[in-house]
């Protein structure tokens, strides 16, 4: 399968002279769900922030399709088919649910934006009754739904999520993950960073294990779930969630 996103030997951090990730490589294809796991401080969030253009890249390449993303302003990423949902503060609390969606659809022509917003409400019907409510009043699960709904408005080929299950009740985690699986079945590539490692690996095709800013292991998730090395690197060290 041809890779949709290719990251090769990526070095990045909050400051160019202080890299947090060193030479990380990964690929993801269309219709694939890939999880990135690793102990705290492994550089998981830094990696997807760097891919999204939010952090300076000092070395390596990031290619989406045939387009190099290195040095591109993050506000142009959605135009190239990439969406990113941060871990926290991923909705505009002072805007209404409708305004949050309108904002996500701003890069689209007006008629297409209306159709996409309507499709978002069809996909996440729970949001319909809150459309005029301030998004800050939504529950954790509803916020996550809104964040995903907004990220999907521009019809991305790739959606990256930073810990989509953080702070959610188990039932809600199941619901959010269910939506991600549906997206993947529709041909979207989903790349997510998760602390909730086992739950995420159970629904993903492949997993990358990072530690200390470097690739440590990768492979099919079902195989890595049984690999004692993963437990040693991640679950053991981090005492993480199962």
């Amino acid at each position: 399968m041809t890779a949709l996103l290719s990251v090769a030997a990526l070095t990045a951090g909050y400051r160019p002279d202080l890299p947090i990730i060193n030479g990380i490589s990964l690929t993801i294809s269309a219709g694939e769900l890939v999880t990135i796991i690793g102990p705290n401080g492994a550089g998981k969030s830094t990696l997807i922030k760097a891919i999204a253009g939010l952090l300076p890249i000092t070395d390596g390449t990031v290619t989406l399709g045939h387009q190099s993303l290195v040095g591109l302003s993050p506000h142009l990423m959605s135009g190239f088919g990439m969406a990113y949902v941060p871990q926290s503060d991923n909705i505009f609390a002072t805007l209404t649910v409708d305004e949050n969606l309108r904002l996500g659809a701003l890069p689209l022509p007006r008629s297409q934006a209306r159709a996409q917003i309507s499709a978002a409400y069809d996909r996440f019907p729970d949001l319909v009754r809150f459309r005029k409510a301030k998004a800050g009043n939504l529950s954790g699960g509803q916020r996550q739904m809104l964040a995903v709904a907004r990220a999907l408005l521009t019809g991305p080929q790739l959606i990256m999520l930073d810990e989509p299950s953080a702070g959610l009740a188990p039932k809600m985690v199941e619901e959010v993950f269910g939506h991600l699986v549906t997206l993947v079945r529709g041909g979207v590539a989903v790349l997510m960073v998760e602390q909730n490692a086992k739950a995420a690996m159970r629904i993903s095709d492949r997993t990358y294990v990072l530690a200390e800013g470097r690739n440590r292991l990768d492979g099919p998730s079902d195989r890595l779930l049984e690999d004692p090395e993963v437990a040693r690197i991640y679950l053991g060290q981090a005492g993480g969630k199962h």
Partner: protein, 300 residues
């Protein structure tokens, strides 16, 4: 009592126009721009400069003390103030934005404020002046209330502009982007919002409103190079009272500061009136630092 109410509303309306620009800058650009009040001075004097340079007639419009030329000069002053704001951003703030802390930007704005005030002083001199020498008689509206036609015009224009800005922020895609950046710039950016465009429009809206507020202050009171310096405290008090980054808050804050100032002279000597915004500022910061309407993230 009624007279104090009318006077307070008039002053408050001018404060509100200045405070909108200041609150937008503080909310979106995330620093307290001490040069904002000086942009009011710049705008007021640019209108005077246009009137003088082109020798425009000052024939009054109906019962007002000024005519179409001042309105035309105000439009030119808005453009010149926006140009100044964009130039300052390009020369100073843009280069510092992502590299230095907020306090450095604040101190830079102090320097720019001094520069603008002294440039105005250099060009126009330090003496108080007026747009027109026309005299105006206050009209007795009620037994205890006299209002001048200029005041009615000022208040009406302020109301129209406040409504226009509010509609712009609530109903247009650009307004939505500005509100989003005010709350969470990095989230706005990953949603496809161009930060550079929002910053540019913040200066455009803020600069134009500062110019109008400056001209209206010049019409209502007089023109002095220290005009902006004297408005600095009431403007900051209005913004903080309403909640930094909150446009409705800035309007309500501005009107309230104007009213409190106006009513204060009923109980304290008029000379202490200027200290009132400072007192309000202290009380708000002590009791409710986020302001009456709550600020955006940029303000916190």
């Amino acid at each position: 009592m009624l007279q104090a109410l009318a006077d307070g509303l008039l002053t408050g309306a001018i404060y509100a126009l200045g405070a909108i620009g200041l609150t937008l800058t503080m909310g979106i650009l995330r620093f307290a721009n001490f040069a904002h009040a000086e942009m009011m001075t710049w705008g007021a004097y640019m209108a005077l400069g246009v009137l003088t340079a082109f020798g425009l007639p000052t024939a009054p419009l109906g019962p007002l003390t000024f005519g179409w030329p001042l309105l035309l000069a105000t439009v030119v002053a808005c453009a010149l103030t926006v140009a100044l704001a964009l130039l300052i951003d390009w020369l100073v703030f843009r280069r510092m934005r992502d590299r230095v802390g907020h306090l450095t930007l604040v101190f830079a704005s102090f320097g720019i404020a001094l520069l603008i005030r002294n440039v105005v002083h250099l060009i126009f001199g330090g003496r108080a002046t007026y747009y027109t020498t026309e005299l105006q008689i206050a009209v007795r509206v009620l037994p205890d209330l006299r209002i001048m036609p200029d005041q009615v015009f000022t208040l009406s224009l302020a109301v129209v502009l406040v409504i226009a800005v509010h509609q712009f922020l609530q109903r247009t895609p650009l307004g939505l982007s500005m509100r989003a950046v005010s709350e969470n710039p990095s989230l706005a950016v990953i949603n496809g919002v161009s930060l550079a465009r929002v910053v540019r429009w913040t200066w455009i809206v803020g600069g134009a409103l500062a110019a109008v507020a400056g001209v209206l202050y010049g019409v209502a009171v007089q023109l002095r190079p220290e005009l902006g310096f004297h408005l600095l405290l009431p403007l900051f008090a209005a913004v903080i009272l309403g909640g930094v980054g909150n446009v409705v808050g800035a309007v309500v804050g501005g009107v309230l500061i104007g009213l409190i100032e106006s009513f204060s002279v009923l109980v304290i000597p008029a000379g202490y009136k200027l200290a009132i915004p400072f007192l309000v500022l202290l009380v708000v910061l002590y009791l409710k630092p986020t302001g009456l309407f709550g600020g955006t993230s940029g303000g916190r």
